[in-house]
């Protein structure tokens, strides 16, 4: 019984995609996939240490560094979804009227309305910081709460604190029923694009890794069948991810 260790971000797991995507692979190859769902940073770290065979994450800068330092090989684009700016339904900063993501952020800062940041150097957090830069705002002050937690927790906090936040669409869709006080206020800006990549761990750095299985997995998620499963995966009638490997 071959086991393949996949380190991935919580969003792929929590959105319910992997439990759909992996079983056909397991049936096809006889390989058991052990999903270790952690933050992007930790997933990449596990890859660097050779503790997993393959990683599936969304943090392009970190991924490139991972590959360039020789820890990962065969990076492939898998899919993307996008980020949305969510906030209290009352929308005190009038974000709904914004023209772009950066404008939305500028409005939040200007109104001094509450904003909960992931603050955990995750892909989402990196994106958020980029947007603040684009809005030419230094996020600081009582209104800006760096929570240092996962997406789900931050959404819950925003709901309770009646604050804005940046969320990935997958988690938002999965959780929006539990967040009665929040709604999407800004979406669709190209700046909110969120790509996922799959990377096999370099067997030259870590000979013990199950490279063959990793390659098989990379092949599977980028295969026509795999991409079809990703495209057809919906939640609440909404498609969560857009496949990128096979157009």
């Amino acid at each position: 019984n071959v086991r393949l260790r996949l380190a991935t971000t919580t969003s792929t797991q929590d959105s319910g995609l992997l439990p759909i995507l992996n079983p056909p692979f397991e049936k096809l190859t006889g390989i058991t996939v052990d999903v270790i769902a952690v933050g992007s940073g930790k997933a990449i770290k596990l890859g660097e240490n050779g503790d997993v065979d393959v990683v599936l994450v969304h943090d392009r800068k970190a991924e490139d560094k991972f590959v360039s330092q020789g820890y990962g090989v065969n990076r492939r684009d898998v899919m993307h979804n996008d980020f949305v700016v969510v906030g209290p339904s009352e929308d005190p900063a009038r974000v709904a009227a914004s023209t772009s993501a950066a404008d939305a952020f500028a409005r939040i800062a200007a109104a001094g309305a509450g904003f909960v940041s992931r603050g955990d150097a995750s892909g989402t957090n990196t994106k958020e910081l980029d947007l603040w830069a684009a809005a030419q705002v230094k996020p600081k002050g009582a209104w800006y709460k760096e929570a240092g937690q996962g997406m789900g927790e931050v959404l819950v906090m925003s709901n309770d604190l009646k604050a804005y936040t940046l969320a990935d669409r997958g988690t938002w869709i999965a959780m929006k029923d539990k967040l009665p006080g929040l709604r999407i206020l800004s979406e669709g800006d190209a700046a909110l694009f969120n790509p996922y990549g799959v990377i096999a761990v370099n067997p030259q750095k870590h000979p013990e890794v199950n490279y063959m299985a990793a390659l098989q997995y990379v092949a599977w998620v980028t295969s026509v069948q795999g991409q079809k499963i990703i495209r057809e995966y919906t939640m609440g009638g909404q498609q969560l991810f857009t496949p990128d490997a096979v157009k």
Binding site: G119, D120, K145, E146, A147, G148, G150, M157, D160
Partner: protein, 222 residues
């Protein structure tokens, strides 16, 4: 270790802040738990009443309750949607201290009770005949078993300073506000910053050692 000292010595203001926050939260919550917990434990140890054993078993079992569950329970009370939501204490230091005190209480009570159960059964009788009231018997029992009571307090302090579930759930790990050493460790770990996590762990350990040593010293020189 090196990293930890570097962090502290280099005067990283944030590390000092979260260390102080951790200490503040856990001291407060342990203290709050001890105030009703120690007398309760003494009563359970000295009185023989119906359901005493069951109560003890429940208390010991409560020690197994994951911190995040305690967090959840308190959350469901103090969240906007909860019965105490109007106080708006969620994601504030008070919420953490409250949750941690609830977490600490069964530890204080059950360890105090089990520590005192080794007192000579004649001890309360001797005090009584010398004219001690029930309250004085209680107080003297605590003093007599102060090692056990100290252990109970320190264990509860250790439990809360080392826990992450309640602090995370109720405090929200908000930077410069409710971020403690443990929530910071969780954050750094999730970022893959394992070394920083370990270094912070060492800071916490040193702090716990300091508190332990200080309290032991105090009790010894009382």
């Amino acid at each position: 270790m090196g990293r930890a000292f570097e962090l502290l010595v280099s005067g990283d203001r944030e590390v000092w802040f979260i260390t102080w926050t951790s200490l503040r939260f856990s001291m407060s919550s342990a203290l709050i738990a001890c105030i009703p917990g120690i007398p309760l434990g003494v009563l359970i140890a000295l009185r023989r009443f119906r359901g005493r054993r069951v109560l003890l078993a429940v208390l010991t079992s409560l020690m197994a309750l994951p911190t995040v569950v305690v967090g959840l329970i308190v959350y469901s009370l103090i969240s906007r949607a909860g019965p105490l939501g109007s106080f708006g204490i969620l994601f504030t230091p008070r919420a953490v201290i409250l949750g941690q005190a609830i977490l600490a209480l069964p530890i204080v009570v059950s360890m105090t009770a089990s520590g005192l159960s080794s007192l000579d059964p004649l001890f309360p009788e001797v005090l009584t005949t010398l004219g001690a009231s029930k309250r004085e018997v209680l107080w003297m029992s605590v003093r007599q078993s102060r090692g056990a009571v100290l252990s109970a307090s320190l264990a509860s302090f250790g439990r809360v300073i080392g826990e992450v579930g309640v602090a995370m759930m109720l405090g929200g790990n908000i930077r410069w506000y409710t971020r403690t050493i443990t929530t910071a460790i969780a954050l750094e770990t999730s970022k893959g910053e394992f070394e920083l996590g370990l270094a912070l762990g060492m800071v916490l350990l040193v702090m716990a050692l300091g508190v332990n040593a200080a309290l032991h010293w105090m009790v010894r020189h009382e």
